[in-house]
Amino acid sequence: MEKVQFEQLGEELYYEKLDNGLDVYILPKKGFSKTFVTFTTKYGSVDRTFVPLGETEPVTVPDGIAHFLEHKMFEKEDGDVFQKFSQYGASANAFTSFTRTAYLFSATNHIYESTTTLLDFVQQPYFTEQTVNKEKGIIGQEITMYDDQPDWRAYFGSIENLYKNHPVKIDIAGTIETIDEITAEHLYTCYNTFYHPSNMLLFVIGSVEPEKMMAHIRENQAQKTFAEATPIQRIEVDEPLEVNCVANELRMDIQKPKAYVSFKARETHLQGHEMLKQELAIQLALDLMYGRSSAFYEEMYEKGWIDESYSYDFSLEKGFGFAMVGSDTNHPVELENAIKTVMNESEAALPFDAEKLERVKRRKIGFFLRAMNSIEFIANQFTRYKFNDMNLFDAVPVIEELTMEDVEQAMKSIQGITQQSTFTVKPLKEAK
């Protein structure tokens, strides 16, 4: 077991790669009574075309399958796993993103028992045609619930606009039609390919004794046998730089229109330190261009073109990345143009200087320090960073070192005019 110290943050991280390839990290947190454990596979909705374990030809599986698999992991021959966690007073949950599926629990008691439950239920698949079909009704209702959420529709509408081929454009949960195609056999194919310990990470944080917990996990894993670890072959798609669709709209039963402008990233193949630098630089630039202390924000707020729903964000993963800026607004066209103008003008010169950059760097450092109070944040983000060969605890030093040149260079990724798209959600009836 290795131990890494992060002195400025006062944190100690323990690490071990187990014989079966599983990466285990343990971070004890003083003063906390709860322990939070996440067990995550590097497998999400974008992993739809791949070569199944032990085969040679790639297959494409139905949309929404990673999320479907996440649901079905909780049902076993002897019942529902939630019941077991509840007996220990543990709250269990799971989520599926574009690139990850995470299973987790938090508890203040019986943490060894719950850790065993977590490891065992994720490592013992049980799928039958009957249980798979039963889940279709439940997930169908999850899908229709999201269908009625205008912000979710605007988010996915924007991504569909940006991407022509990349599977990030497909809704994580799939559609009623695609999940209907899913069979138990599909689930086993995906499970066997992506749930090998060497493709997974276990993170334990909170009120925990590192040596004892590591021994407990090691012992649990040593009792199980797994196939030989083989590299996973994901089939990448060709994606042009320009957007799929420059503008689109949707009508829903809402009061006020929603306007989003999205920017597709050019640079999406960085990993490790370079990716961390790229991601943080773009986030800082967006803070300065679109943040709540920016001239843009103030002007839009004064004009009443944006309201409290206003948000902006940048997401970067291997193979795709995008920035989004938007708000509920009665002036969708004007707002969209104003958002684009800020981005287009930044190509000639960024609308801020080194002094202003220092200010948002300070804010971002404060954000990371505050986030160190949240064991959920640390566990989820640490895993995401690690899957991209980055280290969460490097974020503060990397921010400190970022220069104007770094930010200028990074912003080139999203500045091109052919990389922009707008998506508007409008009320059924035009306001008078």
């Binding site: 709860k34 619930m145 009625d148 948002v360 505050r370």
Partner: protein, 421 residues
């Protein structure tokens, strides 16, 4: 858990020194009796104070200063609790200890003073352009509830289930109330708040408690309250109807049901009611989750929540419109089962374990420590995890069955899509 100091009559500081967090958290709460006429003006007031003061006249200049203070988070909001309406100012700032240069804490306290005591007045009034802009923001907030269909369904249920009752009063007020606000009425509400409201100030972090109390006294020069606020009790009101259906353009129907709960927070049976709620629909092991979702596949979510301050219980679910009757019947059956004593040892023990765990977990965040303490300090028993656990542990199946018999379904609200022509 917290040390209390009264710095003026009706103004209390609650401090908690701990090195558990890397930040210092403040929560300042101005409280008065909840009434429809004040909610709108107090909400607009929080928006105005949040966006402009005499020193930082624009929201951007205030934000920039907060950025300088290592991204100190500061926001104002209005909430309600029982029969109280609360204006709150929450602040979270990094602990000087983790920074190369210190003194952030004193600057933050100065800023709190500025935000609350140095309003941006022109001719002795809030600027009308700012007031109008923030009124528009609050109106948008009220109207946007419609766009989120489950929130809309819940507000519609509350209106018919508990009319003219604190449970259905919105802290944002109504559009008409917001429209009627003038710079003068806003100033009146602002001055009344500083002068008459009871004030609770909570601080959690690695602080020197005596010094903190002295600094707060300086930053918040609040005088004795002439009439410290006393809790006013309120009675349940009768529902307007037992069933209402509304149609809008949407895919998933929302089923929201209101029940009268036999006890409120201040009743010793409160703990039994919490356990009932956990078994009925509070957790993934509950009867609603296991039957409506897992067994029958009729919903993605179906759960219950007990709002102890108002003595009510809600069941909410998202379903196919055509399954309405079936789901209502299944939900009724789960309540009947508990009323008939169909409660397993496992359900009872799971629920107790979950309640204890939730309480302990809430205490792992500074905000959680403030909110849990603020709620439970009204109970006559000492506030410790052990004391509360004892209360839960003492509850038997028979107790749960007995209380379930007094839970009374009163109103169903069904929000659904337009029927096909």
């Amino acid at each position: 858990m917290f040390n209390t100091t009264e710095i003026a009559k009706g103004v209390n500081v609650f401090t908690r020194k701990t090195d558990q967090f890397k930040t210092v958290n403040f929560s300042i709460k101005f409280k008065k009796e909840l009434s429809t006429k004040d909610t709108a003006v107090r909400t607009v007031l929080t928006n105005v104070l949040q966006h402009s003061n005499a020193v930082y006249q624009t929201a951007a200049s205030l934000r920039m200063y907060l950025d300088d203070l290592y991204g100190t988070v500061m926001y104002l909001d209005t909430t309600k609790k029982g029969n109280e309406q609360i204006v709150l100012l929450n602040v979270e700032t990094v602990n000087d200890h983790y920074l190369k240069s210190g003194d952030v804490l004193n600057k933050v306290l100065d800023l709190v003073h500025t935000v609350l005591f140095k309003p941006n007045f022109t001719n002795d009034l809030f600027q009308s352009s700012i007031v109008e802009r923030e009124k528009a923001m609050v109106i948008d907030r009220i109207q946007s509830i419609f766009d989120e269909k489950s929130r809309y369904a819940q507000t519609q249920l509350q209106k018919i289930f508990r009319p003219n009752h604190p449970a259905s009063i919105s802290v944002n007020g109504t559009v008409a109330d917001v429209e009627a606000i003038t710079p003068q009425t806003l100033k009146d509400a602002y001055e009344a708040m500083l002068q008459y409201d009871d004030v609770d100030i909570f601080v959690v972090g690695d602080i020197d408690e005596d010094k903190m109390v002295a600094s707060l006294k300086e930053a918040l020069p609040l005088e004795d309250r002439p009439n410290p606020y006393k809790k006013v009790t309120f009675k349940d009101t009768e529902p307007l109807t037992d069933y209402k259906k509304e149609q809008v353009e949407m895919r998933q129907a929302k089923l929201h049901i209101g029940y009268k709960a036999p006890v409120r927070f201040d009743n010793p049976k409160f703990f039994t009611m919490q356990i009932f709620n956990g078994i009925f629909g509070g957790y993934p092991h509950s009867k609603l989750f296991m039957n409506v979702r897992e067994k029958e596949s009729l919903a993605y979510y179906c759960g219950s929540s007990y709002v102890s301050q108002y003595g009510v219980l809600y069941v909410t679910s998202g379903i196919e419109a055509e399954n309405e009757e079936k789901v209502v019947r299944l939900i009724d059956e789960q309540l009947q089962a508990i009323q008939q004593g169909d409660i397993s040892d496992m359900e009872l023990n799971q629920t107790k374990a979950m309640l204890k765990n939730q309480l302990k977990e809430a205490l792992d965040s500074a905000r959680g420590q403030i909110e849990v303490f603020d709620q439970y300090r009204e109970l006559p028993i000492p506030f410790t995890v052990e004391a509360l656990s004892e209360q839960w542990d003492a509850v038997t199946k028979e107790d749960v069955q007995e209380i379930a018999k007094q839970v009374e379904k009163q109103t169903v609200f069904f929000l659904t899509g337009m029927e096909e022509a």
